[in-house]
Symmetry: C2
Subunit: 451 residues, 2 copies
């Protein structure tokens, strides 16, 4: 099976088949599709279409699909069902982490109602446990389903025990080894279990050099750890090392991606995690605050220029390079800060101190500055034929590039030191400050040149 691609034609054909309840046609159309593909279809359907379409799936399939839906589509479908239906058709058939995620999206009242209708007591208690963790921590990411064996068992006991445990667990990632107090001791791979004689003990074959995370660790940190150590699954323990659950990589890929995308959004002046499919209102709310910063910066810039209105009257040609100076200051600052922000996000800044980083930025800025200033000097000199203007523009450009590069480097580092998200500094804030300071430098130098 290669990847499925949803088209308008496919959607129309399917909706028609669903509407006339042509089961064989519907099953033919969705043959071989995965839950994620079906979810993509449902995301594009109206509520009526989606509910009619949902009839064609078994309870387990329906639960798998529900998890893959966009939050909006999931909410619409769940709102059309009673708490009892939600509990029995969906939540009882889900892994504990997915179930907790779905419940976390509901109101407290609805959540409690749904939990009270769960038939599987173990599932209900797992979910209640999971709901007690903050969403953006290891505890909020983990699932309770896992295979575990006692360090003192022999292989035969283990395999029998795993046969029992496997009724509740779909996918085996690894088998955890605990002592009689449930304290995590290590792991043993299924392969190892499969290939070791029955009478050996777990104690003899388990691997005790493993990485675990505590339940209160932030999700980004979990992402960094799994990425760094190439882990597919990581066990979660409490403060005294008792095994609580496990986190699999697919949940963490989302976190890693969102983290990288969040930095980009912030640098572009977009707060909150919005997508192009969100409402006009949400999109506006995510963007307007940053534009206020820009507007405020523009007004401050206007005041700077206003101070030199007298110079401008005498030398109106100075106005024509205002946008160039402002734009270059912004561009250089964003470049510098983007590199620092990504370095911080990746832990790839190394052990270099602040001063050696600034020294390097100074080097880059000097090369860029000299090249670009020479070009603009040449242009001004030949096309504007004014030595004063040429000198003003080129000296101002060089100064502005150096200032913007250093400022763009130092601000995210400082924010990070004081535990503020360094990505906040990039984009509108750095651009605006650099704009204003660049204009100030430009007119100051112009003032000196034209004396």
């Amino acid at each position: 099976m290669m990847q499925f691609e949803l088209t308008k034609d496919f959607l129309e054909t399917l909706n028609l088949a669903v509407e006339v309840n042509n089961e064989s046609k519907v099953l033919e159309l969705i043959d071989g599709l995965q839950s994620a593909d079906i979810a993509e279809i449902i995301d594009e359907q109206t509520l009526e279409e989606a509910i009619a379409f949902y009839q064609f799936f078994s309870q387990e399939q329906a639960a798998d699909i529900l998890i893959e839906l966009d939050e909006g589509a999931r909410e619409r479908i769940l709102n059309s069902l009673s708490s009892e239906e939600i509990a029995k058709q969906f939540i009882d058939n889900m892994d504990s982490d997915d179930a907790a995620d779905v419940l976390a999206e509901m109101s407290d009242e609805k959540k409690n109602e749904v939990i009270s209708h769960l038939e599987d007591f173990e599932q209900a208690s797992d979910i209640v446990d999971l709901l007690s963790y903050e969403e953006d921590t290891a505890g909020g990411l983990m699932a309770k389903e896992l295979f575990k064996v006692d360090i003192n068992w022999d292989i035969k006991t283990c395999i029998n025990e795993l046969r029992i445990q496997s009724q509740d667990i779909e996918q085996v990632y690894t088998v955890y080894v605990v002592d009689d107090k449930n304290i995590l001791q290590g792991i043993v791979s299924l392969k190892r279990l499969l290939l070791t004689p029955d009478n050996k003990k777990i104690k003899d074959i388990y691997n005790d050099n493993i990485i675990s995370v505590k339940a209160n660790v932030k999700d980004e940190e979990v992402g960094n750890i799994m990425d760094k150590y190439d882990l597919v699954v990581v066990p979660v323990v409490d403060e005294i090392g008792r095994l609580l659950g496990r986190i699999t990589i697919d949940d963490v890929v989302e976190v890693i991606k969102e983290e990288a995308e969040k930095d980009y959004q912030m640098a572009s002046g977009i707060s909150e995690n919005v997508e192009s499919s969100d409402s006009v209102w949400l999109l506006t709310r995510a963007r307007l605050p940053w534009l206020f910063i820009g507007l405020f910066g523009g007004i401050l810039g206007a005041r700077v220029i206003g101070n030199y209105e007298h110079e401008l009257q005498l030398h109106p040609e100075m106005a024509i390079f205002i946008p160039l100076i402002a734009a270059m200051a912004g561009n250089v600052g964003v470049q510098s800060s983007a590199i620092v922000v990504q370095g911080l996000a990746n832990n790839s800044l190394g052990l270099d101190g602040l001063w050696s980083k600034l020294l390097k930025e100074l080097g880059v800025a000097l090369i860029n500055g000299v090249v670009l200033s020479s070009l603009i000097f040449g242009y001004c000199f030949f096309f504007e034929a004014s030595t004063a203007l040429s000198l003003t523009v080129s000296i101002a450009l060089l100064s502005v590039i150096i200032f913007a590069a250093l400022f763009g480097t130092i601000v995210p580092l400082l924010l990070n030191k004081y535990k503020v998200d360094p990505a906040l500094a990039t984009g509108p804030f750095i651009t605006t400050v650099n704009d204003i300071f660049g204009l100030f430098l430009y007119f100051l130098i112009g003032h000196l040149m034209y004396l």
Copy 2:
């Protein structure tokens, strides 16, 4: 074991212990550290320190560490060794995909020399196969090591066969099922094998509804597929469906991360994949081209303003809002394009057509534009006391916001349609065009207002 954090103190203590060859101290310091931690240490050492430190590891550990090193550190260490040492100490002990990645970094001559020294013929032929694929495709990402069984075997034969195959393979992700022509038929999980009676056949228990990728599929596409379907491992097949290898999620996390980061870098005006630890020269090369675009844009902006120099002489107060108009045009354009670029990268744009997207952007732009224009009108009216200027600035701001939002939306969509990376459009390009057009609008409106 919790995560390791490298400090200057630790590094000094370790280097001292390595220098005086104090084995027990070195082993005590690195006790419980993973390969990725050791690699982090070596990345910060000089070549001499690294080579002395490397003596403390077994061949297998040494190979594991080599893979985790930064490209620069790896290159330095490999350059200090002969081809034979590289082959026998490192390449023979690596998984085929890692081995191919390391070899791909060498010159053709060195690569062939190393391959000629490999003792394991199977390893050598796997590596040669892998080197024939482009680095950024599924073939370039995959490893050849995998467990496979014939669809006609019974469980007992399978388990025996897996015992043999497992000598070469460290980690079992899944067991692939092929027919007698090596054409991929499906998968069977180790858990299933473990729990099924010996006399049953693979045919009866395997799962044929699986996702595979062709060897020539781009790495980003592999990342999207594994992310969408929550896969930990995906099989790679050739054009007629024969099983070639498998790709694991840890290799793809890198691709997913780099993809998200690349968009951010491009939007910030940084080409190539640079890090803050790269050389001044590399950093400059990645940044200067985008600054040229900015400079060129600034010159065009200067020409636009130059055309209205006469107006400026009569109304020098118009100059003071030049940076505001230019900055807002840039900010709005970047916001719009960032949302489209991320939507394209995530396949989350849905089935909406171009027109409905533009309509939505128009809605957002109208709200933002009306709010911000009213504010600036108020400011101008009270502080600059000129109706003509107040009207010019506020009308120009509204027009510029609408234009920039639509332009920022349409450009990445168009680029994507013509198979150009849409992230190229964001940052300097969109900012620059919006700057120039914004200035043009501002002076045009000013010209009409002051008539």
